[in-house]
């Protein structure tokens, strides 16, 4: 999919004016934490449950190469075919070739963030193979050609009027309706025919169990079960960090995932595949391909700070409580992943230079790391990215912004570390900051630091600073 991470500020400004999204996000922000908390309370000890899931994920990331090999070996023993794709291109080529060899004209897809990441739909379409997203939210965003608004509910922000229009235009719906249930029904009818005759189904993977070679999908709609039952060929795409050691760990993560993600004890369907169907079974895939996508992850695996990002289980909780995401929504993040989880993962996959806004769009409040089932410390990682980005910037540069930065910060640095210069600065600016309309004037300034002054209130400098008073008191004695 198109990468727009460099347009964060621009898109965020636009989205802040989108009244429909605003209303939705406001309700969502208030409603979701309550729902989640209630669901987590069904654990005997919610804190312990989160600690346990974080421990499981930490162990997975520490032993990733070993667990992945074990998973691969057991999946092959079960009769699956495993393909390790180094990058998006390799993964897409493999799947496109498979579709061509099997002579399929279309595929049905279960929601999968990794296929968004690698741009699989586009690769298929370029080769004349139609890809039908079958998760209702993904189906809507696909018809509208929009990026996902949320990693769990990709179309939750789309007004029903717009869905009604696009369903009439592109999904064979006859009469307009604003009722979500009727809209869902129209999508059901349209996609049912696709499921019925589909020859190849493509799904993501929530967990891959090393000990048994089993892949697990968690869903509510049944579209993934359809895509794994009806066609002769099943392709399941996973990123390498999806692996877990054993079934017990997987079950605990599923419990935490469902509660964190949608506030459910368990999603309607959890399906676990160990290889293709057995010969005598009438449905299920005759062949099961598991594509394990790297796409840059091994590159940062050796860096112990960056690899933390691989602990994510894609529950979406960090989005739902983030003060930035719940204002700007998912579009500004500019790629498959949004919110705090996207802010830590995207810069590692795309590079620090073109994702600068992502790791700066954080208030360091820490709400995300408090609820993260993977135990990721997002603010710490984003802070680290900022440090790294400063370090990689050349010391001498003649770009306009860099020159301005140099003078501002070099001067500022000189001033704050020299007591006499500091005192001089305080004396000079005191009266200015105590003017009645100082704040307003400062906000209007178009100087080089306008990004800073526009959004902050300048504190008044006291009539007498602590130092000055201290000196006075000492003199009196």
């Amino acid at each position: 999919m198109e990468i727009n991470t460099h347009r964060f500020t621009e898109t965020a400004k636009k989205e802040l004016k989108n009244e429909y999204s605003r209303v939705f996000l406001d309700i969502f922000r208030q409603h979701f934490p309550v729902l989640r908390k209630k669901a987590m309370a069904s654990f005997p000890n919610p804190d312990k449950a989160l600690e346990k899931s974080a421990a499981i994920r930490a162990d997975v990331v520490a032993r990733l190469p070993e667990l992945l090999n074990q998973f691969e070996k057991n999946a092959i023993r079960n009769g699956a075919k495993v393909f390790r794709a180094k990058d998006a291109k390799a993964a897409n080529e493999f799947i496109v070739n498979l579709a061509k060899q099997r002579g399929v004209t279309y595929v049905t897809k279960g929601k999968s963030m990794v296929t968004e990441e690698i741009g699989l739909n586009q690769a298929l379409e370029e080769n004349g193979i139609k890809a039908f997203e079958s998760d209702l939210g993904e189906f809507i965003t696909q018809l509208l050609d929009r990026p996902p608004f949320h990693i769990v509910g990709p179309a939750m922000n789309i007004p029903v009027e717009e869905i009604s229009d696009i369903f009439q235009k592109k999904a064979g719906m006859k009469d307009p309706t604003l009722d979500p249930v009727e809209l869902g029904q129209a999508a059901r009818v349209y996609l049912r025919n696709k499921f019925h005759h589909v020859e190849m189904g493509i799904t993501g993977v929530n967990m891959a169990v090393a000990e048994t070679g089993t892949i697990i999908n968690v869903e509510n709609e049944g579209n993934i079960r359809m895509s794994k039952s009806s066609p002769k060929t099943q392709v399941s795409v996973m990123t390498l960090e999806k692996v877990v050691e054993n079934m017990a760990d997987a079950l605990h993560l599923v419990r935490v995932l469902c509660r964190s993600c949608t506030g459910q004890k368990l999603s309607a369907y959890v399906s676990m595949d160990s290889g293709p169907k057995k010969e005598n079974e009438i449905d299920g895939p005759e062949e099961l391909f598991i594509v394990i996508v790297d796409n840059g992850r091994w590159n940062f695996y050796d860096d112990s700070q960056s690899r933390e990002a691989l602990k994510c289980i894609r529950c979406g909780t960090c989005l739902n409580i983030c003060p930035v995401y719940t204002k700007v929504g998912g579009y500004p993040y500019g790629w498959a992943y949004s919110g705090p989880m996207g802010q830590v993962l995207t810069p590692l996959l795309l590079g620090l230079d073109r994702t600068k806004d992502l790791y700066h769009a954080c208030t360091q409040c820490g709400a995300c790391s408090e609820v993260c089932p993977g135990g990721i410390d997002h603010p710490k990682m984003l802070h680290e990215f900022r440090i790294r980005q400063t370090r990689i910037r050349p010391r001498i540069s003649f770009k306009k912004n860099d020159i301005i930065d140099f003078f501002e910060f070099a001067l500022w640095e000189k001033m704050v570390v020299h007591p006499s210069l500091w005192k001089l600065g305080v004396t000079m600016s005191r009266s200015a900051t105590r003017q009645k309309n100082a704040v307003r004037m400062l906000k209007k300034t178009n100087g080089p630091v306008k990004n800073w002054t526009q959004s902050r209130t300048m504190p008044q400098i006291a009539r007498k600073t602590f130092h000055e008073r201290w000196n006075e008191l000492r003199d009196k004695k």
Partner: protein
Amino acid sequence: MIKKFIEEVILQTGQVHQVQDYSTAGEILAQIAADHQLKSMVASTDEVIRPLKIMEWANKKGIEVKTADNFKDRASFKDYAFGQADAGITGVNYGISESGTLCLVHDINQPRLASIAPLFHIAILTADRLVPEYEQAVENIYTGSSTPPSQVSFITGPSMTGDIKAQSFKGMHGPKHLIIILIE
């Protein structure tokens, strides 16, 4: 455990009919079919459903029931499951009380589409198959066997979605109604 299981199923809008034996189960099944005008069904042939003697039952009640072995291939089975069957009726390997979940092990006798393609899923469960947590079911299924089943499904309530305006409703792609007949 039974009480907890039933409570959880009802929370997900599932229905539970408690009966004493298979013959009463047959009567309840006939009642359900009549209430919802279910005229054709695709059935599994697993060991839980077998004592129901569903073919005899179907002949008596004048309802069309087909099982996987009535079809010559995948395509014709799919045509029936997607195109004709009003309901799918299956046995259940384990009922899990922790979340009111049905665990189905798919094999030659438990085709996958029976519990996902039709609008109604009617599940037959015996009380001795109830376990408190997922772990017991999964351990029984996966340990000790060198070839794990091709697919295992956990089913908790009917198919659902909340993708439009976060408003949730049942029956998105799979069954809209989940009805469990629990034989004690």
